[in-house]
Structures are given as structure tokens and as C-alpha cells.
């Protein structure tokens, strides 16, 4: 009888032990659901499975739903192995709650810090510990233009915003929309960043976004930026309010609009429309942005987990995401450049090469986007202001700058 019991309990024990013995499951939450994005994330999955684990793909509907689901899973005691997050203050807020695993060991072994842009290092550490893994750097301040439109008009894509304002009436007169634009928070931020850099200068940009200098945010230079934005407003089409960026870009793809200011993710949309870089469409930095790269970074964080197999899984996953080789392969599909500056970029397209060249210009060229610069709360306030300014031509640039200064003054430092 006792023997039987002992055998039974040993059996049960063995059964219970099995999960630890088999390959570590990595339950990874992210919001990369569209074609190109999922092909890119498959690189991580394939590599993880190759290294002896099992990748469980947990894709959500955009960042909002993913954040809600992830936070609630953590609250419910069932955290994912890894989750995509918005870099910057959003990551820091997680770290403040002691939710994130420290990756110091993996970072040291992989020599991460020396090979990443300083701004990223600053944003992936908290209290001296590495707590996030940046897998790529998108550039948000490109201009993509229709080769046909500029050839037909015998013009060059604008190098400065003044040039744009000088050319736009001629483009418009030819029956073409000078700038494809959809007035939503996302595209307003891209445009504002590009105008702030191009017309206000990198110094002003840094003062407002990095140093949170309220005086700079209310300065005359900033008023000039807003007034320029107001001038650009007259060159968008009537269908612009709340149009998605994909639909705005479709205007460039179908040669109805001359150019659009947006990030390198545009390439995915162009290739889905069977358009070829260099032949159908061109890629340059936005007007006046030739030596600036507005970084848009995707990061993964690893919530604290007590299960030993999950700890192993997290370590494995973090290491492979920061492997330069894996990053090269991943970013070729994602359309961005590797976060690791020592990764091989020879095989990336001309647009990514251009971006990498600007990035290589040093820290002065490496600028944060809203997500890197502000908390989600502050970012939202700035976006509300931009939306309000754009949709109300009666709002003066001076008023807008004053409101911006108010927001920046209350932003976290």
C-alpha cells in the first residue's frame, strides 16, 4: 500500500516536473500584426525556436489593447515572458513599480551599452539597471515623394521648408496635392517634429523635447514654427481630417500628391502597392532635416517572473534580440535600422543606408520622438494642442506656443 502510494506520488512528481524539463515557452506580447511587421517578428520566433525554446506568439490589437491586456495579466499573476512597450517614460513607469526584470548580466555579456546610441541607453536603464531591450530604430522624419510628379513638373523635392512653401503653389496649380497629410495625432506629431527641426533648428528641438525648457517652448522661434505649420496647412487637401497615414500615403503612391512626411515604415506600404524605391518613389530626409534623425524605437521589456524556466526564457530572448546578426535580419523586414550600431547594414535598402549615415553623425543628430521625450500623458497633451491648432485656423501661433510652454512646464523632468 505504501509502496503504491510512494510510486504514485513519484509519478505525480515526475508529471509535475515535466514542464521544467522541456523547452522554455516564451509567451511574447506585441502589436505587430500587419504583413511586414509579422514577417519581421517571425525572425525572432524562428531564432528563439532554433536556440531550443518555444515561441508563443501573442499579438494584440495595437498598443492600447496590448498594454491593457499585459498590465491586467500582471495584476492577475500571470505575466507574459516578454512584452512590447513604448520606450521612454512609459517603460520607466513600469520600472518604478518594480515590475521589470533587470537585464544587467545579459547587457554586460552582449556589450550592449557601448554599441547603442546614448539616448537609447539613457531610456533603457532605470536606477542603474538595464530594464529594456530596444530592437530597432525607425526614423520618423523622412519625406517620401512621387518620382513621377517631380519629374513631370521638372522640380526637385524641397530641401528646406522655405523651398517647399515656394514650390507648393506651383504644384497645386498643376492639380496635384503639394503635401499628403492626414490630420490625426500621429501624423501631426511627425509633421510638427519635422518642421520644428527644419525651421526651428536642432537646438530648439533639444531644448523643448529633451531639456523640457518651457521658455524655449514659448519662444519666438517656436511661434515661427507654428506659423510655418499654419502655412503648410493650406497645401493639404480637403479630405485630410482624421485620414489614416496609409490612406494619405496612397495619394503619393497614385501620384495624386507630391510628397509626404513620415517614417521609414512607409516603405512597407509602397512595396504592398508594388512601387519600387528609386523608380516610383524617392526617399529623403524631411526639408531641413538633413542632419537629424528622429528616433522611433520599439522595445521589449520582461516582467518579473519567479518561475525558473521563465527566467531562462527571458535571458535567452533578451540575448537574441540584441544579437547584431539577428537585428540585421529583423530590421531588413521591419524597414528600420538596427539599434546596435555595430550591426551589418550593407544589405539594407538605400533609404535605411541614408538614415544610418545620419545616425552615424553622432549624438547631435540623434533626436528623440515624442514617446522618447515625454510621458504618455504629456505626449497626449501636446497632441491635443497640435490637433486643436491645426483644426482652428483662428488660433494664433503665439497662443499655441504659449500653451505648449504651459504643457512643457508641467512635464516630468
Amino acid at each position: 500500500m505504501w509502496r503504491l502510494l510512494a510510486t504514485a506520488s513519484a509519478l505525480v512528481g515526475a508529471l509535475l516536473y515535466v514542464p521544467h524539463a522541456k523547452a522554455q515557452n516564451a509567451d511574447v506580447m506585441h502589436w505587430w500584426t500587419s504583413g511586414g511587421e509579422s514577417r519581421a517578428v517571425a525572425v525572432f520566433a524562428k531564432e528563439y525556436n532554433k536556440r531550443g525554446g518555444t515561441w508563443i506568439d501573442d499579438a494584440s490589437v495595437g498598443p492600447q489593447a496590448e498594454h491593457a491586456a499585459a498590465l491586467n495579466r500582471i495584476a492577475g499573476g500571470n505575466p507574459p515572458t516578454a512584452m512590447q512597450w513604448n520606450i521612454g517614460v512609459a517603460v520607466r513607469q513600469l520600472a518604478e513599480q518594480d515590475i521589470l526584470t533587470s537585464l544587467d548580466e545579459q547587457a554586460k555579456q552582449g556589450n550592449w551599452v557601448a554599441n547603442l546610441p546614448p539616448l537609447l541607453v539613457k531610456n533603457m536603464t532605470y536606477d542603474g539597471h538595464v530594464i529594456a531591450v530596444p530592437v530597432n530604430i525607425h526614423g520618423a522624419n523622412y519625406q517620401f515623394y512621387s518620382v513621377k510628379v517631380f519629374n513631370d513638373l521638372k522640380m526637385q523635392p524641397p530641401k528646406t521648408w522655405d523651398e517647399f512653401l515656394a514650390d507648393a503653389p506651383k504644384i497645386k496649380a498643376a492639380g496635384i496635392i503639394p503635401i499628403a497629410f492626414g490630420a490625426n495625432a500621429q501624423q501631426l506629431a511627425w509633421l510638427f517634429d519635422a518642421i520644428l527641426i527644419g525651421a526651428g533648428g536642432k537646438d530648439l528641438y533639444r531644448k523643448v523635447l529633451v531639456e523640457h525648457d518651457a521658455k524655449a517652448a514659448g519662444s519666438e522661434a517656436m511661434q515661427h514654427v507654428f506659423s510655418l505649420m499654419g502655412q503648410v496647412r493650406q497645401y493639404v487637401d480637403a479630405g485630410s481630417p482624421n485620414r489614416k497615414w496609409n490612406d494619405s500615403l496612397a495619394l503619393v503612391e497614385t501620384d495624386k500628391a507630391a510628397l509626404m512626411i513620415l517614417g521609414d515604415w512607409a516603405k512597407g506600404d509602397f512595396s504592398a502597392a508594388n512601387k519600387v524605391l528609386g523608380k516610383d518613389y524617392g526617399c529623403q530626409m524631411a526639408p531641413g532635416n538633413q542632419d537629424a534623425y528622429v528616433m522611433t524605437v520599439d522595445v521589449f521589456v520582461f516582467p518579473v517572473n519567479d518561475k525558473p524556466d521563465q527566467k531562462v526564457a527571458q535571458s535567452k530572448l533578451a540575448t537574441l534580440m540584441m544579437d547584431p546578426k539577428v537585428q540585421t535580419e529583423f530590421n531588413a523586414l521591419k524597414g528600420s535600422i538596427p539599434s546596435r550600431q555595430d550591426a551589418n547594414i550593407a544589405e539594407l535598402d538605400a533609404c535605411a543606408q541614408l538614415g544610418q549615415k545620419v545616425m552615424a553623425g553622432g549624438e547631435a543628430n540623434q533626436l528623440p520622438n515624442f514617446a522618447l521625450a515625454f510621458s504618455p500623458d504629456t505626449q497626449g497633451q501636446v497632441e491635443d494642442l497640435l490637433g486643436n491648432f491645426w483644426s482652428n485656423p483662428s488660433m494664433t501661433p503665439a497662443d499655441a506656443a504659449k500653451q505648449l510652454a504651459g504643457i512643457i512646464a508641467n512635464a516630468e523632468h
Binding site: S375, P376, D377, Q379, G387
Partner: protein, 319 residues
């Protein structure tokens, strides 16, 4: 005589009827009183859910609105700071006053169209199933997609305006969705389109329940059909109309998908509604303190506006 004869049973009865039944009660005697322990026990789960989930959660929300919680709850008391900020936010004021404008338009439009449709279908039409399903289908399809379609239809560059101009009427303008002071009306329009089918179904269920005798009596007395509806049948369905009203009001207060799919609150934040304001702050902006404060104000306003009326409505039948 006519309204009271074979007592309106289907769904509703004239208000006077309950008073009459109360008078009957003593005759029935003590043992048959409609008092039962089983009835009370049956309500226990409901009350437990109400208190344990809803009111606990509401109290939690109210408390969180008095803290400086951002991404996750922080339980350190911080007074009225969230409310001060909320009331200093221009976007909140736009969203809040939009709620009343949108609410009134949406309630009148949805209820009016829904009742009209129910009456039309009640006139024994052929292909009723087809008509009914067409009116209900807006509910079934994800608003993410149909809202986008409305956005296209209303867009001046690809929608109706473009279409009519292509037909040759060059001066035609239909661009409300792009006008900050008009966009909210397009939301109300889509709201009516989305929900009136449901109201139709509820009212149709009620109309079908109305006793045939009432119709016969009305016909004998020579009352025209439309008057029978307006002065006899619809007043009998008062409780159902109240139900519809509450359903629409809930949709107004909580509307989120509708705004996101149609205008995303824009242009600027001109067509924002509190429901979207709350969710934006809750998730996208990781500021649950501010979201909770907004939700609390919303709930408080609803209490002030709708609960006295509802209490009156609920009480008028049972007492």
C-alpha cells in the same frame, strides 16, 4: 371604455391598472400575498454582484480619482488635484458639452426612427424578415469597419461630395465631418444609423404583444390607425420606451468605438466625447487618475440628470 377593456397585456398596461390590482390584494388573503423567501434568495446573486463587483469597482474608481495614479494604481491620497486639472483641460469641456448635444440628438433621432420603423413593420408587410435584418445589420458589423466606411462616404474628397461633383454639380458641398463645429452632428447621424434597428426590434416586440382586442375596439370606434398608435398603443408601451431611452443613454455615455471609428474625436478634439476621453487617458496616456476623475464626473452628471427621472418611472408602476 376602449383603452381599458380587455386589459393591455402584451407588454404594458395603462398606469391606472396597478392601483386597481393593489386594491384587489387584500381579498386574496395573507397566504397568497406575493411575498416569498425564494424571491429574495433569487435576488441575492444579483445584489452580491452589484455590491461586490460594481459598487466596489465604482468606489475604487472614485478613490483612484483622488490619487496621483498613472500607469498603475497608487493609493496615496492626493485630494482634488485630478479634478482641478480636469476642469482646467479645454478638451474635457468640449467633450463634456458634446455629450449633451450628441445625447439629445442621438436620443431623439434613434428613438424617433426606431419607433417609426417598428410601426411600419407592424403593418404586416411582406418580406418583413428581410427589412428587419437590414435595419438590424448595423449592429452586427464591427464599427471599426462600418465607421470607417461612413468616414469615406462623408469625406469631401472621396465620398458623396466627390460623387455629386463628378456628376456635374461643381458647387456641391458636403463636408461636415471635416468641420470642427459640425463633426459632432455626423457622429449623431452615425449613432442613429447604428442603433435605431435595435430600438425597432424592442418596439416591434412590444407592438406584437399588444392585444388584438384593442385594435378591434379602435377599429369599431372608427379611430384612424395613426391615432390608435399615438394615443393608445404607444402610451401603453411606455415602460418599453423607457427601456429604449436608457439603452440609448448608456450608449451615449459610453460611446467610444463610434467616435474612434468616425472622427477619432477630430478635427482637433472638436467631436470628442467623455467616453473616449476616459479611455484615452486610461490606456493610451497611462493616466488612470485622470481617467477615473473624468469617469466620476461623468457618472455624477448621469446620476443628477437621469436617476430622478428613472426613479419616478420605476416607481409609477409598482406602487
Amino acid at each position: 371604455m376602449s383603452a381599458r377593456l380587455p386589459v393591455a397585456v402584451g407588454t404594458a398596461s395603462p398606469p391606472s391598472q396597478s392601483a386597481e390590482s393593489v386594491a384587489v390584494a387584500p381579498m386574496v388573503g395573507r397566504a397568497y400575498r406575493t411575498r416569498s423567501r425564494a424571491a429574495k434568495i433569487a435576488l441575492v446573486p444579483t445584489i452580491a454582484i452589484m455590491l461586490g463587483f460594481y459598487y466596489a469597482s465604482i468606489s475604487w474608481t472614485v478613490y483612484i480619482s483622488m490619487t496621483r495614479s498613472f500607469l498603475l494604481p497608487i493609493y496615496k491620497f492626493a485630494g482634488a488635484a485630478q479634478y482641478e486639472r480636469l476642469f482646467a483641460t479645454p478638451r474635457w469641456h468640449v467633450a463634456y458639452s458634446n455629450m449633451f448635444l450628441f445625447g439629445v440628438l442621438d436620443i431623439i433621432g434613434t428613438l424617433g426612427l426606431g419607433v417609426l420603423l417598428a410601426v411600419l413593420l407592424d403593418r404586416a408587410v411582406r418580406f418583413e424578415g428581410l427589412f428587419r435584418t437590414i435595419m438590424l445589420y448595423p449592429l452586427s458589423i464591427s464599427f471599426i469597419v462600418t465607421g470607417l466606411t461612413w468616414q469615406w462616404v462623408l469625406s469631401p474628397t472621396i465620398g458623396v461630395q466627390h460623387f455629386v461633383r463628378d456628376l456635374g454639380w461643381d458647387g456641391f458641398v458636403f463636408d461636415w465631418i471635416t468641420q470642427p463645429d459640425r463633426a459632432i452632428y455626423t457622429l449623431a447621424f452615425a449613432g442613429v444609423w447604428h442603433q435605431s434597428g435595435l430600438i425597432m426590434a424592442i418596439m416591434l416586440a412590444g407592438l406584437r404583444g399588444v392585444d388584438r382586442e384593442i385594435w378591434r375596439a379602435a377599429r369599431i370606434e372608427g379611430i384612424p390607425t395613426w391615432r390608435t398608435y399615438i394615443s393608445i398603443v404607444l402610451p401603453m408601451l411606455r415602460p418599453l420606451i423607457v427601456t429604449c431611452l436608457v439603452l440609448i443613454a448608456i450608449a451615449v455615455v459610453r460611446s467610444y468605438d463610434l467616435v474612434v471609428a468616425m472622427t477619432n474625436g477630430g478635427p482637433g478634439f472638436s467631436s470628442d466625447l467623455p467616453g473616449k476621453f476616459v479611455v484615452d487617458f486610461e490606456f493610451e496616456r497611462a493616466n488612470i487618475g485622470q481617467a477615473s476623475a473624468a469617469a466620476t464626473v461623468m457618472l455624477g452628471s448621469m446620476l443628477a440628470v437621469i436617476s430622478p427621472y428613472l426613479y419616478f418611472e420605476l416607481a409609477r408602476k409598482n406602487r
